[in-house]
Structure formats: C-alpha cells, structure tokens
Assembly symmetry: C2
Homo-oligomer: 314 residues x 2
DNA sequence: TCAAAAGTGTTATCCTTACACCCATGT
DNA sequence: ACATGGGTGTAAGGATAACACTTTTGA
C-alpha cells in the first residue's frame, strides 16, 4: 500500500455488528435504537466509529457492542466493508468525504437484552425469507411488484435481465435458494420496494437505519451458507441439546423445513455430536437424549457441516 | 453507524488488488515494485490510498490499478479488510493511527504487462501450494520446521494445539485441502518462518511488501473455493478453449491434478460449456473441439461450478 | 509406426432421499 | 387409548470415482 498523508477529507470508518442468536425456535438479531433517522428507520445494529484507542478492528467492535448492549461476543467474523459514498444519499452532503463501515457477523449463545437493546426476529426485517410455514403470504405481493418493475424497464433487454434476476433469486427457476438473502434484498432495493430506497410501505419488511438492513442481509446469507460446511450452529446452541432442538434451530436459520430422519442420520454419521448420559423430558412425547457438540470433528472432516436434506415435511 | 467527527487520527484507508490470470498453464498475479521496503520485500500488489475523488471503493481500486499497471479489470470481488494497527509493526510508529487496507480479488483474461508491473507465478510466493508435480520438495522442510515450532511451545496444551493445526492445514490428517491457503500462511507467519515475520530465508516462499502476501493468500483460497460453486474460471479463459486447456487451468489454480475423463464428463453434464463448430490443432495429438462458456447455466443451476474430481493421474 | 492428446463407455460404490415403522412418555 | 415427539431400518436412485479402451493427428 502506498503511504498517504492524512488529509482534511480522511474517511470516516465505522464498525457494525449483526449479532445473531436463536432462542425458542426463532432466529434473532440484537438491535439498538438510532436517533435522527427518517420515520420508520429508528432501528439499527450496534455500531460505532473506529477509534485510535482500539487495538484492532475486531477489538473495537467488541468494545462498542459491549458498551451499547452489554452483550459480550464469542464467535466473530468479518463480513464486508461497505463504502460507497452514496451510502449517505439520504443524509447531508459530506463534501466528498467517504464513510466506510466494516460489518461483522457475531454468533452468541444467549439472548439477555441489556440497556435499550432488544432482540428481534430476523423475519421482522425479511418476512419473505421464512418458508417454514410454507410459502409466506408476503411473497406473492412482493414478486408481483418486482415483475411490474421488470415490465417498466427502459429497454426489452434490461427487462429480460430483471426478469432473469427475479426468477433466479425468488425461485421461479430451479427452486428457492435460501442463501441468496442479499441478492433478494438488493433486487427489492433497486426496484424501490423498500423504505430505504424510498418506498412508502414496509411490505418487504421493516426498514433499518443507514444501510444496516443490507448488512443484516449479508450476515444471514453468510450464515445460511456457512452452516453447511462449518459447525457454526453450535455457537448458537446451549452446551447440551436434543437433536430435535438442533433441527429446529437449523430450520429457523435457513427458513426451510428439513426431513427429520435424514437430518438425524446426517448429524450422527458426520460425527458432529455425541451423546451425553442425560435425557430431558420436555414438551410432550418421549424424552430425548441430550447431545453435545463433538469438537474432534474439526480434526477429522475437511468441511464438517449440515448439508440440508431439503425435505418438505417434519 | 454513529456519526463521528473527523479527528486528527482519522484512519488511513488503502485499496489493494490481487489481480489473477492463468496463461500457459501457469497461474499468475500482477505485481509492482514497492520502494522503501526491507531487503527482499520489494514486490507488492497494485495499491493506493482511497481518495475523495473516488466515487466508490471499487472505482477507486480500478483507477489505481489502471494507473499503476495499465490493466483494466473485469471481474472484481471484495476480499477482506485488513486493519490491525500492528500491520505497521515493521515500520515507524504511527502514534495510534489506524491503517486499514481493503483488499480485492480481480480476475482478468489476458496477461499484457504494462509500465513496470510484472506477472509472476503464484507459486513463487507459495511454493508449497503447487502439488501438480507431486509433493513439492519445499514441503517436507517447511513441515519439519513447523513441527519443531510446535515442540518448543510454552505448554504441552499449546504444543498439542499447534500440532493439530499443522496436521489440519498441511494434510497429515484427512488429506490436503487446497483451499486452506491463508491458514497455512498464517501458521508459517506465527511460527516465524516467513521473512514478513522475521525469518532470514525464503524457504516458505518469496516475501512481499507490507501484508500483501497475506492478501494474496486470501485471494488464492477464495478463488480455489469459488471455482467449485461459481463459474469464475471462465473469467480467466479466452472466449474459446478446449476441455484440455480448461482442465489445465483448473489444475493450475487448485494446485492438484484432476482425473481427465471424470473432469470432462462433469463439465459436460453440468452444462457449463457448449461446443463451437471449430477445432484446433495445437501441440501434438488429435485436434480438439473448441468450447465456449454456456452463460445460460447461471439461470439453470443453483451453484454451477467445478467440484474437483480429486483424481491422481492425468 | 509410435507418441500424444482427444474422446467414449462401463462398472462398482457411496451418498442422498424417501418411505415405513417402532418406542417412550404425558394426558 | 392416543397424541406427540424420539428414534431405527431399509430400499431406490443418482452422483462419483476408477477402470479400460478407441480415435485422430504430427513426427
């Protein structure tokens, strides 16, 4: 990297965290109130500027999160650096100054809200991403609007491109790919269907401050992909859990239902978990054996994860 | 993101690009000379500071690359933002000022060097990553040194952890995983076996300026992973090519040899390519049919790529 | 005629998927 | 008794990996 003197227009660098958890079969994200935003956009991710006192980016992030929410972070992973100048298009002119934001994904075990931070379901912000109860009702309306947007393209070629993207991301062709959360959000953004892009209603989900919903979409997509080849789900689980609980968490994250028998077999024969001696007698039915994550799997398998068995019924 | 006033210690933000190509069966990276570095570290990636005139990060990157190398970029993807303050540990004290660098991966079709930029083989910087001619000779010496480093750990527990990491990344357990380029480099760095970390020799590969070799390792790992589920190889190929050429490029990128027959079948039945009418009569043997990338595959398959058939012989 | 690379066919094996069924507990 | 969730077995189908073999050119 070439050396640069700090100039009057040195960029502002922010740190933001999508902190995810799963409790009571519902996937959650930790949000904080954000002042000075347009109506309906007062929710945001924990965030703050990078300061000289921060030894590293990640340590700075942990400091901000702890200060704003009281939550201490375990697993943390860098997601993406958002840096377009027009991030600020909704705010005042910065006179050519850049505003970067380095976004992180964090996975935590427990949901204990602190200060004025609150846990919210992911699907508050992305209602069309939850297919556990079948095709979500919001989806048809959303796709219809997208298709209208494709119709009104300037050229037929552009219209075809838009149509292709809609089919690809919203599943007309080749089925639903649960990982394409960001692509779906960006399509909605481009089509002007989200409040962040000027839409009047929240049909396509609750808005967030700044570009925080884009960050959250990036985080969900990354996590949905990653559970398939890294045992990151266990960062969200208690030390001991039943296979049923594990399945419901994976379903909550991915937004699709899985085939029960195959899920169990997969988990078992991959060596991802091992039995404990105890069982639990929870809600109805036969008591279930409690399992724990088998840490050794990291040394045995090149890509230990939960390839989703794609099944329909429970 | 919270608002921050630009302070005296506003961070410096740099942009850097790992520009990759594949010519003559050799994977290449575009490098530029870097002045003011310690001996043996005068090679670097095209890079420059983010400037107020740059509309976006990516546009800034393209501008710097074009100015420094004359190369215009096609496919560009953000890799990672490196931001530890101690990036500068080899240089002077910055008085608490951060120096971030946003690294990008770029794939280009042709290798036409310009100015004082030069194309170099990847394996100049990571000799142990090339297994096309069998186990590379450098590898044994490198692993031996790593194991000595594990021996001299402060505690037995730490020694075991180090041993596990060596086995995992360098393939004692579960075979060689060609994607773990960064993990291998970081292990070598921690063990002090690379010049960037103070080593006297270049047994583990040619050093680079700043943390550019870490960026390059990130890029190679990402590309090696991505060819398996996205048709990015074709960004490196000419418009028409033979299946043999395609295979040799994939082998060059991944550093392992593939099973010929299965590779061809895979490429064909995945619908990744289609025949053209022409054939080519190149170096020895029967003339081969020229193929081209089938763009429609993007609409048909959820994850079109080249899962490597893992074969030994050609 | 032989080397070298292109290209085709076949088979054994493993993994995925789907279906059917039994088990243990609370009400 | 029966609803509910836990848990096991097995068979069909498709993808993968390994093998052997033919074709077409240039030297």
């Amino acid at each position: 990297m070439d050396e640069a003197e700090p100039s009057a227009a040195a960029p502002l660098v922010g740190l933001a965290a999508a902190i995810l958890a799963a409790t009571l079969d519902e996937p959650r994200v930790l949000t904080v109130p954000v002042a000075g935003q347009p109506a309906g956009r007062g929710e945001g991710l924990p965030a703050g500027p990078l300061e000289p006192a921060h030894p590293t980016l990640e340590r700075g992030l942990r400091a901000w999160v702890e200060r704003q929410t009281g939550q201490s972070l375990g697993y943390v992973e860098q997601l993406y650096t958002f840096g377009d100048r027009d991030r600020r298009r909704d705010g005042r002119d910065e006179g050519g100054q850049h505003a970067l934001s380095v976004a992180y994904l964090a996975l935590v075990r427990e949901a204990r809200p602190a200060a004025d931070a609150t846990w919210q379901s992911w699907y508050r912000y992305f209602p069309y991403e939850d297919r556990r109860a079948g095709r979500p009702p919001a989806l048809d309306a959303v796709v219809a609007r997208l298709e209208a947007w494709a119709e009104e393209a300037a050229s037929p070629a552009e219209g075809r491109r838009r149509g292709d993207r809609i089919g690809l991301t919203f599943g007309a062709a080749g089925g639903w790919n649960e990982e394409r959360v960001l692509e779906r959000y960006e399509l909605l953004f481009e089509a002007g269907l989200v409040p962040e892009a000027g839409a009047a209603d929240s049909l396509a989900g609750q808005a967030m401050a700044f570009d925080h919903r884009r960050m959250l979409a990036t985080a969900l997509g990354r996590l949905r992909g990653k559970i398939k080849y890294r045992p990151v789900v266990f960062e969200l689980m208690p030390p001991a859990f039943t296979l049923g609980q594990l399945q419901r968490v994976v379903e909550a994250l991915s937004g699709v239902l899985l085939h029960k028998q195959n899920f169990r077999r997969l988990v078992a024969q991959q060596g991802l978990v091992e039995e404990t001696e105890s069982v639990t007698a929870e809600t109805g039915g036969r008591p279930a054996r409690l399992m724990r994550f088998r840490r050794e799997v990291l040394l045995e398998r090149p890509a230990p994860g939960l390839r989703l068995p794609a099944g329909r019924a429970g």
